[in-house]
Amino acid sequence: MSTPPSLLVEDLAFAYPDGHQALFGVDLRLQQGERVAVLGPNGAGKTTLVLHLNGILRGGRGRVTVGGLPVEDRNLAEIRRRVGIVFQDPDDQLFMPTVGEDVAFGPRNHGLPEPEVARRVADALAVVDMADVADRPPHHLSFGQRRRVAVATVLSMRPEILVLDEPSSNLDPAGRRELAEVIEPLPVTLLMVTHDLPYALQLCPRSVVLDGGVVVADGPTRELLGDPALLAAHRLELPFGFDPHAVP
């Protein structure tokens, strides 16, 4: 085995302290550079899975490995550098007074020297096409701009895996397209949790369907979306008139 998989999830099960069991043994393997969408209805365990990837949630059965490094207490700092999670609400993600300080938050936490931090901030903001807002407070940006800045806040840590939680939610069509243009050329492994099936098809060649805390389907996105019985069984629906086979 030459390079270890970017992400390896083995038999992951987890129950919250109140007894609610969210995951019942999830297996997932992402090769380096792979792009995978996680599809599933509300309550399928998608967010619980995401919070296991960087060790926010732990203590259940099974294990998670990122680029060969197991998610354990002593590795947490490095794991959280490798796994960049972009949460759904950019107002949760952007908590510092200015955009620049927010993008610098991760690199500074990892103790990078200040010139390197400045370079990372400039690079990350340039990648998401927001280079001119570094000194602005996040509150003054549009929702789509905040979402892109939120992506920059994890890109500045040069992550191995980019995890996006519902990246297209609340975006207008132009904002949705602009975000896709930002994500498409990124040289990272991508895991995207979404209800937006056309977005999954556009950005991720492979998808997994999570329902009831287990992976119930795993395959090329076009094949999964072309299986009406599978979609119906797991409360997934294509937009009216959308034909996955008609998309280039």
């Binding site: 949460f87 107002d91 949760d92 908590f95 510092m96 991760g106 500074r108 509150h139 840590m157």
Partner: protein, 261 residues
């Protein structure tokens, strides 16, 4: 709640500029304002020269305001926070005991007049100094200054989040208000409290949940208990001398008064 646009709120106190006062490092200004307030408070109330000293202090502040190009109107608006103290000071001459004197036919307490007058003068001078600080220093720069002065990190973080989320939570409050009023609610009678109470509760729960989500986002990016700050500028003796010239001049006024008076 107040203004419906993004530029309201906490940042409104700041007057953008590039004067010497604006450019001073925030922590030197904080020290200067604190020291100035201390000198003002140390000025003895009952000395005959006290009013002259107060006038001197005021002249110093107006001088700084002129250098910083902060308009008098802005300074006056800053004094609004002082109103409760003013009311208290105005009350003192009426309720204090001791020898009384007649002012325009009204019997007032002499000690009350002196105490009220000094409260008014000292509070006004200190609030003016603080207003100047707020007008020439951005809120987040003030926080950096507090951090450099070794204010506990947790307090600085709480203040930082307050600045960041005041507008976000204000927005939620406004949306709730619009939603209520869109369904015919009017908040002008006692019965309205039955609606507004739970609304305040739900705003609290929402903010609490947001706090939890923000904390997750922070942990995900390697938060270890401190908000990392950027490069820290080294402050030379010159900058300190500039900043401290205000309290030193005030101290000189105080010393002159004590020696000559």
């Amino acid at each position: 709640m107040g203004a419906g646009h993004a530029h309201g709120g906490l940042a409104a106190a700041y007057v953008a500029g590039n004067s010497t006062v604006h450019r001073l490092e925030p922590h030197t200004k904080l020290v200067a304002v604190l020291a100035f307030a201390l000198v003002v408070v140390l000025t003895p109330v009952d000395a005959g020269w006290a009013p002259l000293a107060y006038a001197g202090f005021l002249a110093l502040l107006l001088g700084v305001a002129a250098v910083a190009r902060v308009r008098p109107g802005r300074l006056l608006r800053g004094l609004a926070v002082e109103i409760p103290f003013v009311l208290f000071a105005l009350l003192l001459p009426f309720v204090s005991r001791g020898p009384r004197t007649d002012v325009l036919g009204v019997s007032l307490s002499e000690s009350g007049l002196a105490a009220g007058g000094s409260i008014l003068a000292k509070a006004t001078l200190s609030v003016l100094a603080a207003t100047l600080l707020a007008a020439t220093t951005e809120p987040r720069a003030l926080l950096r200054g507090l951090e450099r002065l070794r204010l506990p990190s947790v307090l600085v973080q709480i203040l930082t989040f307050m600045i960041r989320y005041a507008d976000v939570i204000g927005g939620e409050l406004r949306r709730m208000k619009v939603a209520r009023e869109s369904r015919g609610f009017r908040g002008r009678h006692v019965g309205a409290l039955k609606v507004l109470g739970p609304a305040a509760g739900s705003l609290f729960i929402r903010s609490y949940e947001r706090g939890e989500r923000v904390h997750l986002a922070m942990l995900s990016r390697g938060y270890t208990g401190r908000l990392p700050t950027g490069p820290v500028a080294v402050v030379g003796g010159r900058a300190w001398a500039t900043a401290l010239s205000l309290p030193l001049a005030a101290a000189a006024v105080l010393a002159t008064g004590s020696l000559l008076g």
